[in-house]
């Protein structure tokens, strides 16, 4: 049995946990981070890789704005640029109603300086000849972009380690109890960690961790499904979404198109797989949206595991029921871009009791009065 005594224990070495651990270490706080698999091997590492502010609720845009400059300077933070490209993000429209909705969104978030540009008609077609005839316009956000989650998530964990965080991988937490004002975490007979504060950054496993300490937080699971084509000649540089959802795509520098839409299924034991219709669904939409892909071949398909909340906003903040327990999970498929900021915010909440970025909308107890689907394990 290895014993650790630390200021802060972090459960989950995904992007959120690692960014938090890194920020805490930079303030000199002692951190032990426990990870059931390998750092960044779950949703943090297998998500779509969109680095996007456009489309987020105003509540999330505060976090997104804080994260925005971090992405541009990622190498300074974690040692690699993570293939981050400020490619812009376009949200496509298939109808006038879509364009109206996009314009209404632009008006709603005007304070956030996203530089949104609504394009349609000839101007749209001339700038983006790659899109199929069903697409009639879109909303362009020039400052948004994309990055490689496989590299970014692992590098964040590695940066936390290099900053002095004890990162213990392949070490699922099997028991959590309160011990005085702090916490005792056990990973079987292998590891015991005593910590004054606890960060629950366990992603899809977050509600389960919360429940172990008596915090019932409603969350459901889903399995975003993504595929990758073989390398193709340049087709599109901008990161693509679509009004109403159901498709997202981007072409990486090496030529592969990464595209997703819809959800897979659980396959037991914390694993998941694409649903049977995934290829037909995503492939069919891809060929309609980007006709140049119609002869492409798909070389990988997968489905990650993600926790979703009723309002699609994450849980970020100290538990109302368990002082010293800080939640940061339930990102509902939108955590990648904001993760670097969430790490800093959690660090502030832990060290100062308050954050310079508003996160009140993400209170973990905001659904407490409503009937809750109890936390469980994916």
């Amino acid at each position: 049995m290895k014993n650790f005594d630390t200021d802060v224990a972090v459960v989950g070495a995904g992007l959120i946990g690692s960014a938090t651990a890194l920020a805490l270490r930079q303030r000199g706080v002692a951190v032990v981070m426990l990870e059931r698999d390998l750092g960044g091997s779950r949703a943090s590492g297998v998500n779509f890789g969109g680095v996007r502010r456009q489309g987020r609720s105003p509540a999330q845009l505060h976090l997104a704005a804080r994260a925005h400059p971090i992405w541009a300077d990622l190498k300074a933070k974690i040692g690699i640029d993570g293939e981050y490209v400020r490619s812009g993000h376009i949200k496509l429209a298939r109808s006038q109603a879509d364009l109206t909705a996009l314009a209404a969104y632009a008006a709603r978030v005007a304070d956030f300086d996203l530089g949104l540009e609504i394009l349609e008609g000839r101007a749209f077609r001339e700038r983006y000849p790659c899109f199929g005839p069903e697409i009639i316009g879109g909303s362009f956000c020039p400052g948004d972009g994309q990055a490689n989650p496989r590299l970014v998530a692992a590098a964040y964990a590695q940066a936390a380690r290099q900053a002095g965080c004890e990162v213990i991988e392949r070490c699922p937490v099997t028991g959590i109890t309160r011990e005085g004002d702090g916490f005792l975490l056990r990973c079987g007979d292998a590891v015991a960690v005593r910590a004054r504060r606890l960060v629950n950054a366990a992603g899809a496993w977050g509600a389960g961790i919360a429940a172990a300490l008596g915090d019932d937080i409603p969350m459901r699971f889903d399995y975003p499904t993504i595929l990758v084509t073989e390398p193709l000649p340049p087709i599109v540089s901008v990161n693509i979404g679509i009004e109403g959802g159901g498709f997202y795509g981007r072409q990486v520098e090496r030529g592969n198109l990464v595209m997703g839409g819809g959800f897979g299924v659980a396959s037991g034991d914390g694993a998941s797989r694409p649903d049977s219709g995934a290829l037909a669904r995503i492939g069919g939409r891809a060929a309609a949206i980007l006709p140049a892909t119609r002869h492409a071949r798909v070389i990988r398909i997968w489905a990650g595991i993600e926790g979703y909340t009723a309002d699609k906003n994450p849980f970020i903040g100290e538990s109302a029921n368990v002082p010293g327990l800080f939640h940061a999970f339930g990102f509902s498929g939108g955590g990648f871009q904001i993760a670097p900021a969430v790490g800093e915010v959690l660090c502030e909440l832990i060290c100062e009791g308050r954050s310079s970025t508003p996160v009140e909308a993400f209170r973990p107890d905001r659904f407490q009065q409503q009937s809750a689907e109890p936390g469980r394990t994916p």
Binding site: G268, L279, G283, G284, R294, R297, V298, I299
Partner: protein, 465 residues
């Protein structure tokens, strides 16, 4: 046969090589009508591959000593055709419990199954070396297929590199077809071959054939170099020269083609997607779906036979394919002759002993033996070098294959690590200080082979957020 097949029994066989054909035969004999899915144009698998119809060589010319076995197997399949649902040119690209997702002549389809026999065979086991991606370098099995199925040799002057009995068989076949053999470069030492001989005596006829080929080649003055490691395939647009090293020094020879192979590796992706338990076989140097002597895997209703369960060769595959199908029949409540199943298991067992001798005679080269420079391409799909693997071990502490894939793209390309996987595993074990079993295996992933993105173009259908 005591039972009567229920209509709920929907058996599917994947693969129409020796194991798949014998499995289908046993299922038909039990009164079932299996679906037989095969990627090939014609049944027979790789070893008994039939050339396209336009060719006219005799079976004797095609299969040599094995012509009788080939003829019997092809005849069995011809007789089965009316009793099975045979779908050639059909790729199983995904598998989920109870369903195979296939791509065939008629486009994508779903094939439901209640019981599944996997007879997916094997591909060459490859270790890269400098220049192995040059035009003119083919796999050993590829060299054999060129001749068998196309009447072609891979070049005029051919070097054979790797280890295993196939080197000598291909050299023999190529010489007879008029190609010149520049050199046979066998990484096995002469002493290895002596050590393996006793176990190979379990199949004296097969051992005798092997010895015959070697004597025949030596009588013709063909250069055989034992204990040799290939250093480089050199050339600009294509292969012009092979350079190797032995403890005695360096050698080189001019050639316009190279065949490369260190034995075979099992094709196991479907078992993986269906959640079959795998275990690492230190003897076979690969992770294989766990299966018992009957061919049952860890997943109920999923059976496995032939080289896809671990390399034992075509004769064993025929017996194992039949045995797996009889296990299916037993589980489906159909009567099965206990004496027959015992005899089949014993037959497979004898080949297991022979195989142990082959492994001693032609041992897997050790990663440390390969003085691979950092700039040698390891993953030929993504064009990632050995140096990238070493850097990932050194700088990121990578010690697991899927992590290596995530960080370096090794094994992430079109072939899903079929070509680079064995070498990546050996090198990762060597550089991370873990055992090959502990660095894990590349997880199988759909699509098992590249799939058209839009086989049937759709419009943007009822998308929901």
């Amino acid at each position: 046969m005591s039972g009567r097949p229920s209509p709920e029994i929907r058996p599917v066989v994947v693969g129409a090589g020796p194991a798949g054909i014998r499995a289908a035969e046993a299922l038909v004999a039990a009164g079932l009508r299996p679906v037989v899915l095969d990627e090939g144009e014609r049944a027979g698998g790789q070893i008994y591959r039939q050339p396209p119809a336009a060719f006219s060589r005799s079976r004797k010319a095609l299969y040599g000593f094995e012509a009788g076995k080939a003829e019997r197997l092809h005849a069995t399949f011809a007789a089965l055709r009316a009793h099975i649902d045979y779908r050639p040119r059909t790729l199983v690209w995904n598998a989920v419990p109870g369903e195979l997702h296939v791509m065939g002549d008629a486009g994508p389809a779903t094939v439901p199954f209640s019981h599944l026999v996997l007879a997916t065979g094997a591909t060459d086991r490859i270790y890269p070396f400098k220049g192995w991606t040059l035009p003119g370098v083919f796999s050993m099995g590829g060299a054999q297929i060129a001749l068998k199925a196309q009447g072609c040799t891979i070049g005029e002057t051919v070097a054979l590199v790797g280890t295993g009995p196939l080197l000598y068989l291909v050299a023999y076949q190529y010489t007879k077809a008029g190609a010149r053999i520049a050199v046979i470069l066998d990484s096995a030492r002469f002493t290895d071959q002596i050590a393996g001989a006793p176990a190979m005596l379990r199949q004296p006829a097969t051992l005798a054939k092997g010895l015959y080929y070697v004597a025949w080649l030596k009588a013709r003055g063909i250069m055989i170099v034992n204990g040799a490691i290939p250093m480089a395939a050199e050339g600009t647009e294509r292969v012009e020269r092979l350079v190797w090293r032995t403890p005695a020094g360096e050698g080189r020879v001019a050639c316009d083609a190279i065949a490369l192979g260190y034995g075979l590796r099992a094709e196991t992706q479907i078992a993986d997607l269906l959640g079959c338990r795998f275990s690492y076989s230190a003897a076979e140097h690969e992770s294989l779906p766990a299966s018992d002597a009957t061919g049952r895997t860890s997943v109920a209703g999923v059976y496995i036979g032939g080289d896809g369960a671990g390399i034992l060769g075509a004769d064993a595959a025929e017996a194992a394919g039949t045995r797996a199908a009889l296990a299916l029949c037993e589980d489906a409540g159909l009567g099965v002759d206990g004496a027959a199943t015992g005899a089949l298991e014993a037959r497979v067992g004898r080949w297991r002993g022979f195989r142990a001798g082959i492994r001693r005679a032609f041992p897997e080269p050790v990663a440390a033996d390969f003085a691979l420079a950092d700039d040698v391409i390891l993953c030929r799909c993504e064009e990632i070098t050995v140096g990238a693997l070493r850097a990932a071990c050194r700088e990121d502490g990578v010690d697991e294959l899927n992590r290596l894939k995530a960080l370096t793209r090794i094994g992430m390309g079109r072939c899903q690590g079929r070509m680079c996987g064995p070498a990546a595993r050996a090198l990762l074990a060597h550089h991370s200080g873990r055992s090959p079993g502990d660095v894990g295996r590349l997880r199988g992933q759909a699509p098992i082979k590249p799939m058209p993105l839009a086989p049937m173009p759709l419009v943007f259908d009822e998308a929901k957020p």
